[in-house]
């Protein structure tokens, strides 16, 4: 069923406001998506009706909160087609999910001389944890190069893979460029050498159908807030046998089976990795975000976003002085660009004066910016609730700004 934009936009109260005297045009969806009313209602309903600490409560509220909380785990399991709920771990966000793997899998299985592969287009969250681990373990971090369009050079990846490769940690979709990486092929190749693969799915899970069993990734990290859900909630998927082989992450309540001063035994997965009272309200509210996506359907969402992407790419491309950064064949609805002779920060501020929200700067991908020899870009990223008339507003504003230096 084709998506009715008016209906969708009516579900997002935040979109209906003016910024700097102009209607808000929110094009910073790769940073975070807006939340439908159902998510906002679920958050307040939880605190109004169900607030209680989950698991081991002997009363009705605790039982209700526990059931709602665990229901989200089931929905996430279905969303990414994991085998079982136990493979879904709640974290603070993609960054913590990756750090969890570095601190547990990394601590136990990475040793001196081992190699970890990442790509040039990683977010700092998928660079720094591995640098820290490699420094501690005397392991080696190797970087898969990319071409000028912002695509991974697969023949270079092939050359980097060897028996010492223990982990390939790679971004599924680049936040700064929008490139969709051929992760299925990467996973297959890495597995031939016995390496495990972590997918940074922060950007992919909102745009693409991410099926962990089909991809056969060992880990998948992503964040609820980029999927119309609340901030402060992340997910780590891991295959059962790997999660079971990993030591715990943090110590505390929930993650234990039995504690004595002599010895503590640990709980089963996923609880082994969920010490302390979790982010209950946000987990419960996230259900409504997943329902929103499921109701629309991933393929219709993708179609709508692809339409916006090609419409915007064509129109912006005609502007004198417009320099696209990242022109991969396979892209999600992200356009990164610079205007000849202008600093991205200035462009972003002038767009903001027109009510248009974009992101400017290095997008937490400084090595990628260095690869392109630039300080940063202006990034417009579209979601399912954006319209072609909003793209028209963006194009008109960019054209006007470009004229300052490109007459």
């Amino acid at each position: 069923m084709p998506i009715n934009l008016e209906d969708i936009r009516s579900l997002f109260p935040i979109l209906h406001q003016e910024v700097n005297g102009k209607p808000l045009v929110y094009l910073d969806n790769a940073a975070t998506t807006q939340k439908p009313q159902a998510v906002l209602d679920a958050l307040s309903n939880y605190y109004e009706l169900d607030n209680s600490n989950i698991h081991r409560g002997a009363h009705t509220l605790a039982d209700r909160a526990t059931r709602y909380y665990e229901k989200t785990r089931t929905l996430i399991k279905e969303y990414i087609n994991a085998k079982e709920e136990a493979e879904i771990i709640f974290t603070k966000g993609t960054t913590e999910s990756i750090n969890l793997v570095a601190a547990t899998f990394g601590r136990k299985f990475i040793t001196k001389g081992d190699e970890i592969l990442i790509s040039t287009m990683e977010h700092h969250a998928n660079i720094v944890p591995w640098q820290m681990l490699c420094e501690e373990k005397e392991a080696i971090l190797k970087i898969i190069p990319i071409n000028d369009s912002g695509e991974i050079l697969m023949e270079e990846f092939d050359k980097l893979l060897n028996e010492n490769t223990k982990l390939v940690s790679i971004v599924h979709v680049s936040n700064a460029l929008g490139t969709i990486n051929p992760v299925k092929e990467i996973i297959q190749k890495a597995h031939r050498f016995g390496a495990k693969v972590l997918l940074d799915g922060a950007q992919s899970t909102s745009h693409l159908d991410v099926n962990v069993q089909d991809l056969d990734c060992d880990f998948l990290a992503f964040s609820a807030h980029k999927l119309f859900g609340p901030t402060g909630l992340g997910i780590l998927y891991g295959k059962r046998n790997i999660l079971e082989s990993m030591p715990p992450y943090q110590g505390g309540g929930e993650m234990i089976k039995e504690v004595t001063f002599a010895k503590t035994t640990y709980n089963d997965i996923p609880f082994k990795f969920e010490a302390g009272t979790p982010n209950i309200a946000d987990v419960i509210a996230f259900q409504k975000a997943l329902e929103f996506i499921n109701d629309l359907g991933k393929s219709d969402i993708k179609k709508q976003e692809d339409d916006l992407l090609s419409y915007a790419t064509d129109l912006l491309g005609e502007i004198k002085g417009f320099i696209p950064i990242g022109t991969a064949k396979d892209k999600v609805s992200v356009i990164s660009f610079n205007l000849n002779g202008m600093h991205p920060f200035d462009v972003g501020m002038m767009l903001d004066a027109n009510g248009i929200a974009v992101r400017t700067g290095h997008h937490c991908t400084q090595p990628l910016m260095q690869r392109f020899g630039i300080e940063g870009t202006v990034r417009a990223s579209f979601s399912v609730y954006n319209t072609k008339s909003e793209i028209d507003v963006l194009v008109a504003a960019v054209a006007k700004i470009a004229k300052i230096k490109n007459k």
């Binding site: 700097n20 920060f345 200035d346 501020m349 903001d352 027109n354 700067g361």
Partner: protein, 143 residues
């Protein structure tokens, strides 16, 4: 020469004419930046970069008898415009005047709303650096 307060009042009047229109205000700030005297390339050193600015800002001084002349540049046009305002108010003055300047024009023209919190922090860093230069000159003069 007009006092620091006179110049500040001039700026407040100019921005008052622009009103609440953020876009025209930004364009105006950029135009001001474009009029800044050329900054010598040889002075674009690591030492002259002001820490705390998101965009790159270089600041240096020239002595003119007992007064300080500020020279500055930035890699972004809006920041350059902001510096030009500070230079207009503080450059060519005695260290003591600079040290005691109460720069109320920044609040009065609603600069925080125009440039946002990141650039406001940068602006504060620029003012601090200009006052540090003044302090150093004053110390040298008194020595």
């Amino acid at each position: 020469m007009n006092t620091i307060q006179d110049i500040q009042n001039e700026i407040i009047d100019e921005f008052g004419i622009l009103g609440d229109d953020k876009e025209s205000t930004i364009y105006y700030i950029m135009e001001l930046g474009a009029k800044l005297p050329e900054f010598p390339e040889s002075e674009k050193t690591e030492e002259n970069i002001i820490k705390g600015c998101q965009s790159k800002v270089w600041l240096t001084t020239q002595e003119n008898e007992d007064k300080i002349v500020f020279l500055a540049d930035s890699n972004t046009d809006i920041t350059k415009g902001l510096i030009s305002l500070l230079i207009r108010v503080l450059s060519g003055r005695k260290p003591q005047e600079i040290l005691h300047a109460q720069l109320d024009f920044i609040d009065k023209i609603g600069m925080g709303n125009i440039i946002g919190s990141q650039r406001s922090n940068g602006l504060a860093a620029m003012i601090k650096q200009m006052k540090l230069y003044a302090l150093a000159y004053q110390t040298k003069q008194n020595a």
